[in-house]
Symmetry: C2
Subunit: 597 residues, 2 copies
């Protein structure tokens, strides 16, 4: 065997301190910065662990001087040299290695680098497709390295916490039977069986339930999942979730486990203290108070019901809607030093509300001595005290009202106003605020299709008191469902599952799957349920999104090594791409190109 | 929220001891055994943690008695009762809970079970497809539960060991560009881009090399990999490997890391001591000594070169082969108490040798006072001492010889004889014997195609001394390749990689990939290599196979929760299966069914 001819590092670029003064070392890394002060070269050498300043002094021999002169940014090099303390005035307290430098004796160029397509640095607003095309350069940035380390630490901490509590990580297959419900399955054609396909799993849902039937008791998996959805902002074709299932549990067992898990993980990974339990809101309360089933609890601005006050007012628009059984709700925008509650600003709030179906946004301002002015204030004359008290408003605040026939639209429109206020008025606290949303409706009505469908998925247990009225009043049925919300994002969704064949079939039927179709699609689950399944339930936190929030980023692309872009393409390897005709022939496939419009 | 109505366990079926005498407990589990002694019922209740004996005494009330009477094997139940010590004569020291039993007060049936398709027990020779169809029942067996736990422990131990040594686990994409070389890629049609496909990765090879270019320095991943190979014995469409890559390393760094890793993991998971370093054999030595590049070192029976002796003998067949530059090698079968070296047995050894190309298997037996008898012994008259000394043979042993024109066939034929002797003569020690095979040839000649191809893969570094003769004498080039072998199985394969665009292109060209094809297939790797890649290398141990060996099984199906059968089908969910026409239409695909023959 032969060794390749390069001087191999004896330490990393993040390790050397004063204590190493005088040591002969070899460093391997990339030229991060390269300054030439006359005949002295200062080279910042970088690896994953840090940056060390390398100095080529003016006593350098010809060979060393030539090497130093030939260096360009991002060259990969090996430096042999001696550690020395920096002169006091040169000490850099910002750098881990800021007390020392390495006087170079030899520089070997391990590989070279042409001019960079963008500067490797954080916070630069490089166009994303360029970053993705040259992801290997982008990954050299401190930001990407830090975020992938955070992701690693987060997942490892989860694994160890669960493993210490008798959970087994079990790998479920990723080439499975296609059982599309909501989203589309990605398909994998079989070469051996013409016309037959495997599917990539949208989640290991059915397999983890079958593991429970198999007595595995406590299962988890950091699982790759796949959904062929239309490109939308932050969606990826493949994503990672913590998939988890437990036998013999009730809802609160799953909730407590998650509270313990994330309490431990946030402390271990980020030294952040979470409360021992997370706030629990019913779906109805979350909607009424925050207008959303994924409320951001890092700020207040709670929604208040003002229907009774509106009914007493002289505002006919409100009175009419209330008369027809509609809703009037309001939020109070607190006085701001930086944002002027101008007509223009109010219009921007109204625009946000209209996206969610509001017909308009009424407003009034709170003045001195509990007075109301502007907007619809004149209709509330004589009711100022009542209105101000209800809203908890103070001088300088502004009250914003939405009236709507439809409860959900009334709520969500005000949620949009609330979220915009949170951002614009700088109301959002730093930190991480978890909450549980519970008691979700089990079914949603599909207006287009004219049938009921599962709000979550078809395997979730209805709450016991609705078992007799599933078919007669599906809209009223609550399920043993729970969502975990963090800083306004849904980060996990779970439920207690059905473990009874007959109940499962009733749900399928309500969701428009007749027995034959259900048997064809989900027969293997129904079969398994005939063999004494245990009561069970689970949850599935999304890893990408949680790490994104922890890293204080707003795109999951920032916490995935090689994401696809928003067009579902990898600019680096150009996938998806055409394949050889031979490959298609072997798979018994012909491509039917759509006609050009 | 409503709670489902069942009594939830207060402990598991594997926990109770004498110390719990008198405690009221609830257990949840499955009826493992159910004996009825007159009016007393003994129910062995099982969960993942163990088995507890539940007793329904003759003082049971009507309801309890009725419940006990209705129980059948594998019913899922909740038992409320009181722990009591067993009478001394009933203590079962084989059971963790053998000192106690639970006197039942209440039994709830959580779910029922029809007659079982097979008995849930280990060692039963149930037909595999039946086990796989009802995998949820098979998973309830102690064996499957133990093996999946072993797999979990093994993988977790690996993760923690590597993470403590600065490795980051980074998830690479599984929907990538198709770059088939050896095996076929599985393809995933794109809905958005008619005629374009993603591929499932055969391994994260290119992405992990690109991570090195991205400065990630030390990477690993427990990675799902996919190969569309023809069904063959123990192959799975998807399998799991520990994928690992390091920057700035030489071969021995990777080898030492693996020795440390598996030393730690075998100790932690199985309390098994491995040596601090594993034996290293060059490919040439492994072939000459064991006839195989994955030798089982748990027994001796080494191959000896006897060409010089054969040349001096009077056996014209041997002399002829040697005269033409061929080879004569031999092994010594040690005297056995159980196996008679009959003609029939020798023929069975010969048959094994012939599979690998031997024309025949010559033999002679070692008698008293260093005598040789039978077979070809008469040709070695006068050379008995020399032959016996060379072979290290003793009275009762048998010497088996193969002569062949081709070195590899001579070696592998004797390897087959050696392996059969190992099994038949019970020579194989218990335990785990690792070794490294190094200094592999970089290229293999494809006789059919008439070109050279990579013996391992095209990204491996040739050893330095062959850099000038790559093109002129590819057959002689050794690579910086290494295989890890355990108990006669190849369990990992790795290499130092090429990190130079020009060298990489030379390899592509030798392997029959012209520059244009190489650019089209591997352009993104070549692009990355233009931007200062570090020297790097890695390895990829196969998880399924390693766990199989650790579990002393001979099929990887035993250590995978939901394997496909040998026909690449899942008997449980019937995948692959037909899909809706709508799904095919959306993917722009038409199936071209082959004509019936």
């Amino acid at each position: 065997m032969s060794e390749e001819l390069f001087s191999q590092r004896t330490t990393t670029c993040g390790s050397l301190t004063k204590a190493d003064d005088g040591a002969r070392v070899i460093l391997n890394g990339w030229v991060h910065r390269n300054r030439n002060h006359g005949s002295v070269h200062f080279i910042n050498l970088r690896d994953r662990y840090g940056i060390t300043q390398v100095v080529v002094d003016d006593d350098a021999d010809e060979e060393l001087e030539a090497a130093a002169n030939s260096l360009k940014l991002e060259f990969c090099i090996a430096v042999t040299g001696v550690v020395r303390k920096r002169p006091a005035e040169m000490v850099n307290p910002e750098m881990k290695t800021g007390e020392i430098e390495v006087k170079a004796e030899k520089i070997e160029i391990l590989s070279t680098c042409p001019a960079l397509p963008f500067q490797i640095d954080d916070g630069l607003k490089t166009k994303e497709d360029l970053r993705l095309k040259y992801r290997y350069l982008d990954l050299r940035s401190q930001g990407m390295q830090k975020r992938l380390k955070l992701r690693h630490d987060f997942i490892l901490s989860i694994r160890n916490y669960l493993s210490a509590r008798d959970f087994l990580e079990i790998e479920t297959p990723t080439m499975i039977k296609s059982t599309p419900e909501g989203a589309r399955d990605f398909l994998v054609p079989s070469r051996h069986y013409p016309g037959k396909f495997y599917a990539l799993p949208q989640s290991p849902q059915l397999y983890k339930q079958i593991l429970m039937v198999g007595g595995m008791d406590k299962y988890f998996q950091i699982a790759r999942c796949y959904r062929d959805e239309d490109a939308r902002g932050d969606r990826q074709l493949e994503f990672t979730q913590l998939d988890l299932e437990m036998s013999f549990v009730k809802r609160d067992d799953v909730l407590s486990l998650m509270e313990g898990l994330f309490g431990h993980v946030f402390k271990e990974v980020m030294d952040y203290d979470l409360p021992a339990t997370f706030r629990r809101l019913t779906y109805a309360d979350a909607m009424n108070t925050y207008g959303s089933d994924k409320p951001d609890l890092r700020f207040g601005v709670e929604i208040k019901d003002v229907a009774d006050l509106a009914a007493k007012s002289s505002f006919s628009t409100f009175k009419e809607i209330i008369g027809k059984g509609g809703f009037v709700k309001a939020v109070c925008a607190p006085h701001s030093e930086t944002v002027d509650f101008s007509r223009k600003y109010i219009t921007s709030l109204e625009d946000a509300a209209k996206v969610y179906g509001a017909h308009g946004l009424a407003w009034m301002k709170v003045g001195e001595n509990k007075s109301l002015s502007g907007g619809v204030s004149k209709f509330f004359e004589g009711m100022e005290d009542e209105v101000i008290e209800r809203m908890g408003a103070a001088e300088g605040d502004m009250i914003l009202l939405v009236a709507h026939q439809d409860w959900k639209r009334c709520c969500t429109s005000l949620s949009a106003v609330r979220n915009k206020l949170g951002k614009d008025l700088n109301l959002i606290r730093k930190g991480f605020e978890f909450c549980w949303i519970i008691d979700f409706p089990l079914f949603e009505y599909n207006e287009e299709g004219g049938f009921w469908e599962a709000a979550h998925h078809m395997f979730s247990m209805p709450q016991q008191e609705y078992l007799d009225t599933l078919e007669s009043d599906p809209g009223r049925v609550l399920g043993d469902l729970y969502d975990l919300v963090l800083n306004g994002y849904e980060v996990a969704s779970g439920s207690i599952r059905i473990h009874d064949v007959e109940l499962q079939k009733r749900i399928f039927r309500i969701c428009n799957f007749d027995d034959e179709t259900a048997e064809q699609r989900f027969g293997f689950l129904l079969n398994a349920f005939r063999y004494s399944p245990p009561p069970h339930g689970g949850i599935a936190p999304g890893i990408d999104r949680m790490v994104m929030i922890m890293a204080e980023e707003t795109s999951i692309h920032e916490v995935i090594a090689f994401p696809k872009n928003t067009a579902a393409v990898s600019p680096m390897d150009d996938s998806p791409s055409e394949v050889d005709q031979k490959q298609l022939d072997e798979l018994h496939l012909i491509v039917k190109y759509p006609e050009k419009p």
